[in-house]
Amino acid sequence: MSGAVDGPQPGGRAASAPLLGRQAEPTVFELSSPGRRAWSFRSSDLPSWQAHELVPPEHLASEPVALPELSERDLVAHHTRLTSRQYSVDLGAYPLGSCTMKYNPKLADATAGLAGLARVHPAAPAALTQGWLELLVGLGTSLAEITGMSAVSLQPPAGAAGELTGLLIMRAHHAHVGGSGAVRTKVLIPDSAHGTNPASVTLGGYRTVTVPSDHRGCVDMGALRRLLDDEVAGIMLTNPNTLGLFEEDIAEIAQAVHEIGGLVYYDGANLNAILGVTRPGDMGFDIVHLNLHKTFAVPHGGGGPGAGPVAVTEALAEYLPGPLPVLSHGRYHWQTPSRSIGRVHGWHGNTLALARAYAYVLATGGDGLRRVAEAAVLNANWLRQRLRGHYEIPYDRPCMHECVVSAAGLRRTHGVRATDVAKRLLEHGFHAPTVSFPLVVDEALMIEPTETESPQTVAALAQALIDIAATASPEDRHAPRGTPVARVDEARAARRLTATFDARGQG
């Protein structure tokens, strides 16, 4: 009747933007219209051989893979609207504990966009990539100094990959020093540890043995000593731990583990708290991984990419994944350590993320790094102090870069859970803290303001949390209101699994 073209939904309507209507945004598949397109390629002037001349018949696809067909305009509108439905550090505070959602300075974006870094082939000979190798060596050297370690591999692409790399180094070490007869099968992990730690232990071929925390929220030294025997390959710790507390006995712990021939692994997710203040190497750690996407301002990208370099003592350097960039005779080249565990990445790691981290290290410097830790710890302690009396504080002593409070009281009095508090905080214009972690705290809210939030922001965050506690009601279960979507039905998603557009209606 109207001569309108059927099918796809309009791509030039912004009703899905929170700015306007808050309808659901159509998927890119619903925006697709057959025959429409955005692509163009370089003109190449090559013979126009057809598909059947280029591909053997048995391989030739009978029909093309269906991808969405959009104009550039609709593609741009779709993603611009999607981003308008997304919270981010650049919009406001993101006090997600253990995640160190600090502000990522814009200069690093420029770094990653440099053609001289971004347009380099990873298999190009070292002679053509001296700048990259110098950058990697520079970053590695800085990280070694910051952690107090001797040697670094930049290959692991994230924290968990760093952990597994470290455990494989541990394994290689024991295999070497202990001979083939060694039966070190266990790795100790505190009950407050992040989930990647035990998972990595399993993948590293070890069995996880849980070390309980004591009343201070730290490793229970007595329990630890009881668990130490010659089947223990080592221990994995964060320090400060995931309660945001500094393990004061760290030197004794390390010594005890070393005494039984074990190694001490440092999960660097919380390194932000101690930059320039103290170093894992000085504490007695043997292996350290860093989350450059936490401490070194590599943006999180909605869940990656990150980078999880591993640093080790001199004794363990020979096991590092290779090849490693090294300087000799004034030129940089690649070299694989003698007893290397092998590659842990297809190429050299998440190199452009490493370049960002290097820019951050240069900009921050030795003076700035310590300032980072000071401000991060100051913010967290101020917040902890401010929340006292409004939330339960399970381990109420000076914290480091984050503090863990509990909504257990609110649950008892109003049926309001930590998750509800988190959702209500969204209504106040803040991202939520981490909830239900660490597992050792009931109704945990793990709050990490980071150093890049101003005192005013931390005060406003505290006030919002206080207001939420003061006005808690069973209605909070329906929070958040006003967000692009209301409380999301997670159970339904699992029950009627719809993980692709094509599975719609089949769930």
Partner: protein, 469 residues
């Protein structure tokens, strides 16, 4: 001196007020829980006084940082393209797992939006619909490319995806080994071997015979997986029917490491019966980047979804009945399953996956086909030109799409070095991969993408002929 050390907004006065509230006299007191002996001192104005401080230069202002990084960037010889002029860079004929494809401006413009860039893993779906929906769309497209029912929201890279695939197969079958084609990228095989040291997985190689894998001599006991790359490292299309048969005979899963660009022309691995498909997503929206961050593609049959590594986004409803997206089947993941999890992946490559989703939608059905076709044409033309040169021989026969291997009368490493002076990155030197590798004999792996023009290819082959003369 750093202008704003550590991007800390606090003025000294503000810090003092906050310390006072805490009853502390100095910033150092914040760290009183740190044993004295372990403590560094703040960088002293004059003297260290015997105590150690962080031995790093003071921070630099933004222009100085950028100048330093730019100096390093200029110390590389980059490949030609946007930002690198033809006479200042190398025309890229190297591939081997990293390809010089066009990235249209929409990709950085959209994937670079700060809401995508500076968000965390979408733990609060009510304010993360942007990332979640983009990943849902990504999963759908990866599933379609692979020909399987479900794909996850990304892994680190192709190498790590192949490790996860082997682990999944081991878990599904309860077996402890994998039979891996030598045509699988040597770095991926090296990575498989590294991680196998932890999982105890036994790896056996299946040889390449004339460019494709021979599955003649199966290992015993029967492996969990048969792993093949398609097209393989030498650029040849594999006989996936044979691989499927080999897997069937052994009761093993068939894992296919595919080139997603090939999906524009050739049948999907799923259509050949693959159980798990992995791949490197770099060709879609990610520049060469010296190797990272790249993108691990991972798809599998629906029956294995509860063993899928990494994140999975599902569609659901919100409390008001509107379509919404959320991370789902979270109980598979390490933060909940802990030591029982079959994968430890947490942070993955979300932003790269988003870029990939944007590039795939930019291509659309016709663009994907056109892309694959243009690669195949450029490769055919390059191959013909090169083989016309005296002394250049095919290393293996076999149908190729974007890459092929040649034997040269001069050491390939020397050829690469010499051609760089003429402005070409001549290819990837076989056997130079480090770790595993060197199974192919001496040769040069040459790739030609849709970005290569006739005149570039002509000039390249002439330069090569000159070197070989």
């Amino acid at each position: 001196m750093s202008e704003v050390p550590g991007y800390v907004p606090h003025t000294d006065a503000e810090m003092a007020t906050m310390l006072e509230f805490l009853g502390l006299g100095s910033l150092d007191e914040l760290f009183s829980v740190v044993p004295e002996a372990l403590r560094l001192v703040a960088r002293p104005a004059g003297e260290a006084g015997g105590r150690r401080y962080l031995d790093l230069p003071d921070g630099l202002g933004e222009p100085d940082v950028l100048a330093e990084v730019e100096r390093l960037a200029l110390a590389n010889v980059a490949c030609t393209g946007w930002g690198v002029a033809p006479d200042a860079g190398l025309v890229c004929f190297a591939g081997g797992g990293a390809y010089d494809h066009e990235v249209p401006q929409v990709v950085p413009a959209l994937a670079g939006r700060s809401e995508y860039v500076t968000a965390y893993t979408p733990y609060q779906p009510e304010v993360a619909q942007g990332v979640l929906q983009a990943l849902f769309e990504y999963q759908t497209m990866v599933a379609r490319l692979s020909g399987l029912a479900v794909a996850n929201a990304s892994l680190y890279d192709g190498a790590s995806a192949s490790v996860e695939a082997a682990n999944l197969a081991a878990a599904v079958t309860g077996r402890g080994s994998a039979w891996v084609s030598t045509g699988v990228h040597p770095h991926w095989r090296a990575t498989l071997a590294t991680f196998a040291a932890g999982t105890g997985l036994d790896l056996t190689s299946a040889p390449l015979v004339g460019g494709t894998t021979s599955w003649k001599t199966p290992p015993a006991p029967a492996p969990a997986a048969v792993v093949v790359q398609h097209p393989n490292y030498l650029g040849c299309l594999e006989d996936l029917a044979a691989a499927r048969r080999a897997a069937d005979e052994l009761g093993a899963l068939l894992v296919v490491a595919f080139d997603p660009v090939s999906a524009g022309l050739v049948r999907t691995p799923g259509s050949w019966g693959a159980d798990v498909v992995v791949g490197e997503g770099q060709p879609f929206g990610t520049p060469l980047s010296f190797g990272g961050p790249y993108l691990g593609l991972f798809a599998c049959r629906l029956e294995h979804v509860r063993r899928l590594p990494g994140r999975l986004v599902g569609e659901t409803l919100d409390a008001r009945g509107r379509t919404a997206y959320v991370s789902t089947l979270r109980t598979r993941e390490q933060d909940i399953r802990r030591e029982k999890a079959s994968s430890n992946v947490c942070t993955n490559q979300t932003l790269i996956a988003v870029a990939c989703a944007i590039q795939l939608a930019w291509l659309g059905t016709s663009g994907l086909r056109e892309l694959a076709l243009r690669c195949a044409r450029a490769t055919r033309y390059t191959r013909e030109r090169l083989l016309a040169i005296d002394g250049v021989e095919p290393l293996v026969e076999g149908a190729t799409l974007r890459e092929f291997a040649v034997r040269l009368p001069v050491a390939p490493a020397v050829v690469v070095e010499r051609l760089a002076d003429d402005g070409f990155l001549a290819g990837v030197v076989l056997g130079d991969e480090g770790g595993t590798g060197g199974d192919y004999g001496e040769g040069l792996l040459v790739a030609a993408t849709e970005r290569r023009t006739r005149s570039e290819i002509d000039a390249y082959s002439e330069a090569l002929a000159k070197v070989l003369r």
